[in-house]
Amino acid sequence: MNRQRKFLAGGVVIAAALAYMIYAGVTQSAVYFVTPAELQAAPVAGKAYRLGGVVARGSLKWEARTLDLSFALSDGKATVPVRHKGTPPDLFGEGRGAVVEGSWSPEGYFKASLILAKHSEEYKAPHDGGQAGYKELIKTLKGEGR
């Protein structure tokens, strides 16, 4: 076997190893993007999903002491109950878009391991309602604090 062939063989081995690593990596860490309707149609327990929808109004429950967060994600056609352990992220709220990553639990809810609030590209113009809310918050804190 001449040198060129040896190097070629080496290259093939490396390429094959890389292809295998990529294949294994993809199959192990693939996350399927689904909408609530798609998930509800055919949920597979244990499969990794990324579920996107709007947090349904009136569904958000946050228990600070136990860090239990529960809400429902909806796409207008279907609504999926979601549970998570941990603080809701800053951009998270009812009526807002959210994407959660996790798996379907056989007990009939989506177990989220990660919440990605949808980053809205547009900023809202300053509105008085919001400002008043913050001012009140500051007042309460100042009166209460030191």
Binding site: R3, G25, R50, P88, P126, L137
Partner: protein, 647 residues
């Protein structure tokens, strides 16, 4: 009035850039010096005009000219002075100006430096650089006009994205863009070499330092980005394999490959085609990265801009790649290698393997980044691969690269004799094995961690072996120890600069490995006076305070951190910006060489009676920044002009 002047300047610059590119090309083809000189003048005028655009936009920011749409969307009356300046490049339009300006600056520097030294390539270099500038000016005038008016002009602007109100935001984009635009120089020389039919080594020798400069800025940009992510984004990490990060990482990988492969061409006249392809690929990846981040094709937390410029960038990318491929095909006969690989145990093959691994890493990053798009297009199902994919595939690649980092610089050219191997590697291998045993005895149980640490020690030992040997040789010549070492660094600054960069990478490797293997975290809700415990630390919640800053409200929690003795009071906060309907986290931390205590404030009761806090003890993260510093110093050493070697 001023915005119209700015818009006009951009149009004039575009016309001049096109003229310059054509004039230089015709001048290069016919040898008419006057045309090349005219192109030079055009390049100078483009620089002046783009500088004017930049200055006028900055002025509009400082003067709160909200009749300009870009100003109104990226600043408001409350934005502090400092961020009104950095806000200029806080979004798409301004970053395109900054990018164009840097390109024009690099073109000017190329003119100053290479006007006389590279006569045959020079006109074509000018053509390519001006053509690239022309493309960006096209984007600036057609797709993302920074001076567009907004009628009626609002009384106040929307404000800068609060995440960008950070000192990292002045340096991160500037460094990154200097890296990206700097890579245009070797690309222009490569194309010029192909067009002029001078595919020898001249273009490589001429652009060697340009490439190191660009690589240095790109590395700096990536490191500052990591630091920004760590201390601003508040998720407790520094690298998320986010498409935007990947977009900057891919050209870094291929540029790194290029820096190494040019050494083989210089020494052995091999890999001509490969080097041209690499530099073209690297430039293509910078354009592709801009396409990814600016077109909004992949939704990402970082992609704070979206525009209809995707098609423009994609077309430009296609033109660049097709032109380059055409030129490569045209010069195919001249690109035959002269040298040949002699043995697998040689420096050439170590470098070649390094290149293959770096390209493989770049490919995996590329694959993972575009995978959601591919799967959506091919199968109609959007599937993404996250951080686990990137880590799983890249860790073996990067550890192999670390290993080669020890082998490559010391192994003999052509064919390593058993004697050469023993002389260079016996000691380092012993050191590595001993280190593995030592770390295992010290209680490191993760196989990956032991391997990474042992490899780091092995590579450090090879550098030590080389440096001691070279110093000894000088001592025998009668020099004293310190002058001998300094002389080595300065006289062989490229080699030793490279070694220092390698040391920096080793330190970063240890930091990354440590933070992945040993960091711990917990999240809990505390009433006032209650404390959480993690990894020997006690974190006690002492209440909330609220303050009103110039453009936001800030609610901060006070947390006393102790580990047997009082350490610090950390104040992680949430910042409420009126223009944003949700708060921004403001993390607080206590950095240390061994570990950082890192607090993120979560939800809190409005009366200040309780707060949710995420406590992280992040191990060895500081070493990433220290390694970055070492890497920076090494690159600076390598950039210094090379001394003529004394006999």
């Amino acid at each position: 009035m001023i915005p119209e002047v700015g818009g006009g300047a951009a149009f004039a610059a575009l016309a001049l850039a096109v003229w310059g590119a054509v004039a230089a090309a015709v001048g290069g083809r016919t040898g008419r010096v006057a045309l090349v000189e005219s192109a030079q003048h055009a390049a100078l005028a483009v620089f002046v005009l783009v500088t004017a655009c930049f200055a006028l936009l900055t002025y509009a920011f400082l003067a709160f000219d909200f009749s300009v749409r870009y100003v109104a969307t990226n600043t408001n009356l409350g934005t502090p002075f400092y961020y009104r300046i950095t806000g200029v490049w806080g979004a798409l339009e301004g970053s395109i100006i900054l990018w164009t300006w840097m390109l024009a600056l690099f073109t000017l520097l190329v003119i100053l430096r290479h006007r006389e030294s590279a006569r045959e390539l020079y006109p074509w270099v000018l053509t390519v650089m001006l053509a690239v500038i022309g493309f960006f000016l096209l984007v600036m005038t057609v797709a993302a006009p920074p001076f567009e008016r907004l009628t009626p002009a609002p009384a106040d602007g929307r404000g800068l994205n609060p995440l960008l109100e950070d000192t990292g935001m002045i340096t991160h984009p500037v460094a990154l863009y200097l890296g990206f635009t700097g890579l245009t120089v070797p690309f222009a020389f490569a194309l010029a070499a192909l067009i002029a039919g001078r595919v020898g080594d001249a273009w490589i020798t001429l652009t060697r330092r340009w490439t190191i400069v660009a690589w240095y800025f790109l590395s700096l940009g990536l490191l500052i980005g990591g630091w920004w992510s760590y201390h601003v984004l508040g998720w407790g990490g520094y690298w998320a394999w986010d498409p935007v990060e990947n977009a900057a990482f891919m050209p870094w990988l291929t540029a790194t490959a290029f820096l190494h492969s040019v050494m083989i061409q210089e020494r052995r006249r091999m890999l001509k085609l490969w080097n041209l392809a690499l530099v073209i690929l690297t430039f293509g990846l910078t354009i592709f990265g801009t396409f990814l981040t600016r077109s909004g094709v992949i939704a990402s937390v970082h992609a704070f801009t979206q525009g209809a410029i995707g098609i423009l960038f994609l077309s430009f990318l296609a033109v660049v790649l097709l032109t380059a491929l055409g030129l490569l095909a045209w010069r195919w006969d001249a690109l035959r290698a002269q040298g040949e690989l002699d043995s697998i145990l040689s420096r050439e093959s170590a470098f070649l393997l390094n290149n293959v691994l770096l390209i493989a890493a770049a490919f995996t990053v590329f694959f993972g980044t575009v995978f959601p798009l591919l799967s959506e297009a091919v199968r109609g199902v959007k599937v993404s691969v996250g951080a686990p994919f990137f880590n799983q595939v890249n860790v073996p690649l990067f550890l192999s690269l670390v290993f080669l980092m020890g082998v490559g610089p010391l192994i003999a050219w052509r064919r390593a004799s058993p004697n050469n191997l023993r002389r260079n590697f016996l000691l380092p291998v012993v050191a590595g094995v001993l280190a593995a045993a030592a770390f295992f005895t010290l209680g490191v149980r993760s196989a990956l961690a032991v391997l990474a640490l042992a490899l780091a020690v092995f590579v450090a030992a090879t550098i030590a072996v080389d440096f001691t040997r070279a110093t000894r040789a000088r001592l025998r010549m009668g020099e004293r120890a310190l002058p001998a070492m300094g002389g080595l660094l300065l006289r062989h600054n490229r080699r030793y600069g490279g070694f220092v960069v390698h040391l920096g990478i080793l330190v970063i490797t240890v930091g990354v490995m440590g933070s992945h293997a040993w960091s711990v975290q917990t999240e809990t809700t505390l009433r006032r006076g209650e404390a959480a415990e993690l990894a020997g630390y006690r974190v006690r919640f002492d209440g909330l305070t609220a303050t009103e800053e110039s453009n936001h409200f800030k609610v901060a929690g006070a947390f006393t951190v102790t580990n047997g003795r009082a350490l610090d009071t950390l104040r992680p906060a949430k910042k409420f910006y009126p223009q944003q309907d949700s708060p921004i986290a403001y993390v607080d931390y206590r950095l240390g060489l061994k570990e950082d205590v890192y607090l993120v404030l979560g939800d809190f009761a409005r009366d200040g009676s309780q707060a949710t806090v995420k406590v992280q003890v992040n191990r060895l993260v500081s070493w990433i920044w220290i390694g970055g510093l070492v890497l920076t110093l090494g690159s600076l050493l390598a950039i210094l002009p090379e001394r003529k070697r004394a006999a």
